[in-house]
Symmetry: D3
């Protein structure tokens, strides 16, 4: 039996989808309205799931408060109420699609969680669009 | 690491659960109110998930607008505001349970998506009932 | 100070929007896909709000279980898993738009609730469309 | 009896809360993270409610498709995937708080709807914050 | 035009519905499962709405952060993760129905908000039951 | 292709997180507000997913009404409107964290469902915290 624990958090940010190696025509074709020069934004919902046995003494897979504090420090404090293209050093040079953001968040969270325990990261950009990274 | 992209869509349709090989008593036993001769209906929510590497040039697993257009053309335009037992050729002869609908939608979508990329199709019939098909 | 109590319920039904006094061209112009001859359907959410002073002995505006039982008997048992145009005597002759349904439900509920206590009836047809009747 | 019809729509946009008449210290005190120079963003949900008698021929308070088309043209096409401080002429000079946006949307919608029929405009900025304008 | 601002918060608490002036048989008749001696509990959602003109300098009806801090201090810190019958001095002697809780929260909030500005308090006990107090 | 069917249910209960082998200081460190002696509570959402081939005669993986009845009898009737530490024999001696509850519910449901068919049990304690058990 696999046991998992999921914590849901959220943040609000601006972003722009734009590939600088392309001209504006191609950016418009691929990214449409998302290429708007001044950016647009979203209320992102971020779910982080850890895997592992249930500790018999605490009844917990992991200390949920510690996990929330870690997500706050490593991800949310850096991206909440920011422009993801301009204000976030660890996202520099990345086109901030939901997929790329999910991968980038995984890469900063995974080294801070006991090895192999991070199981899934789910980033909902709008009610219609979701990216998932899973071990 | 597995990377996934999910698109959520919805449609509204009527249906009736009825097995013509049975008499009405058995249909009532198995399908209950869902066997009502004139049908009833739902607001369905359909989530389609594709799997694959993130394209380094676009930051995308797949072009989300193209995926939405495909779902619209192949599924939604045929079922939205229809009676699923009477109006939809590719559902002819199927009892339109959530499970059968999910399988049928998979079968019309899968050939139109690059091989092996369709990962999961999730059909929510009501807030209480969900069918999933997964590769 | 005004005090209110709201009970949320839901039901699933088929319907068709069609004005028999018009030809099909005009029905299509006004009702579009909703005029599909075989009907379509929705998961309706129905909220009923009563108004009144809080009874000091019970801490309640009205007995919520009794209110739910009344809604079940007077509305839900007659419309759940039905075709609203064909199966529901008290809706006969009404085009079952959200507005007309809300008014019809108000008219069957109001006489069964102490005078003046029914305050609002809210019928959500989809996540995008809501009709409200208010005293 | 009052009868109402509500249409829900949504859009995604960036904004910044900043009063140019103040220095940065005061802007930070009043607007906090929302004053971030490069902006942040939200998935806004916009509900527009109209009031009026139910037309006996159509069963409708107002043609919902026409109302949605109007909201699309007058509001959504101008604000969706935009930066509200920089890209939207009719919001020029306004601090784009939820309250100010709701008032501004009311002012562009009201003249396009039969007199007195626009009843309420509700703008949800996040799941926690909502502004309402009501006649 | 009326302008309103709503803040949504939530808390989790245990409670028991029990009228000590009655015997257990009558308590069971009126409160049913809610009279369970050891209590049960809910995730409550509390919405507080203030009314007033939009300040032209800030674009705000009221400072939302200050309003959230006030609700946190005056209500949430006293009821979150508590047993409402046993742990909360300002609820002593009240049967903690949704209606009575909403009235009690209004009474502690209203004196702390500029006169006449508190417009509505909405307490959702479950997805099915909501109490509202309105000026 | 894997086919799954999910049923969503909910219940409301009180609980307390407390390890009797520890002193109060350590309980406070680990469980924080959740260690409140008189308990607190939640609206739990429980999703049960079964796996299996779609029966060609019924179009169903499993009879959904029978599955709902089983969950009602085996889980909900024992925990709804109860104090999970005090009122539920099959939870005696367990710290009622979301993880432990999910495991305990799995253990009472699995023997009552055809072997290998129970696939996943998901227990949402609040909108922020979810435990999952999966075969």
């Amino acid at each position: 039996m696999q046991t998992l624990l999921t914590v849901k958090t959220h943040f609000s940010a601006a972003h722009r989808l734009y590939q600088p190696a392309w001209d504006d025509v191609k950016n418009d074709q691929v990214f449409g309205l998302c290429a708007n020069p001044n950016g647009h934004g979203h209320n992102y919902e971020l779910e982080v799931t850890v895997e592992g046995p249930v500790n018999q003494e605490t009844g917990m897979i992991m200390d949920m408060k510690a996990l929330k504090t870690l997500i706050q420090e490593v991800v949310l404090d850096r991206v909440d109420h920011k422009h993801l293209n301009l204000d976030v050093p660890f996202l520099r040079g990345i086109i901030p699609t939901a997929e790329n953001l999910a991968v980038a968040f995984w890469e900063v969270l995974d080294p801070r969680i006991p090895a192999g325990r991070l199981y899934e990261l789910r980033l909902q950009e709008t009610e219609r669009n979701i990216a998932v990274v899973r071990r």
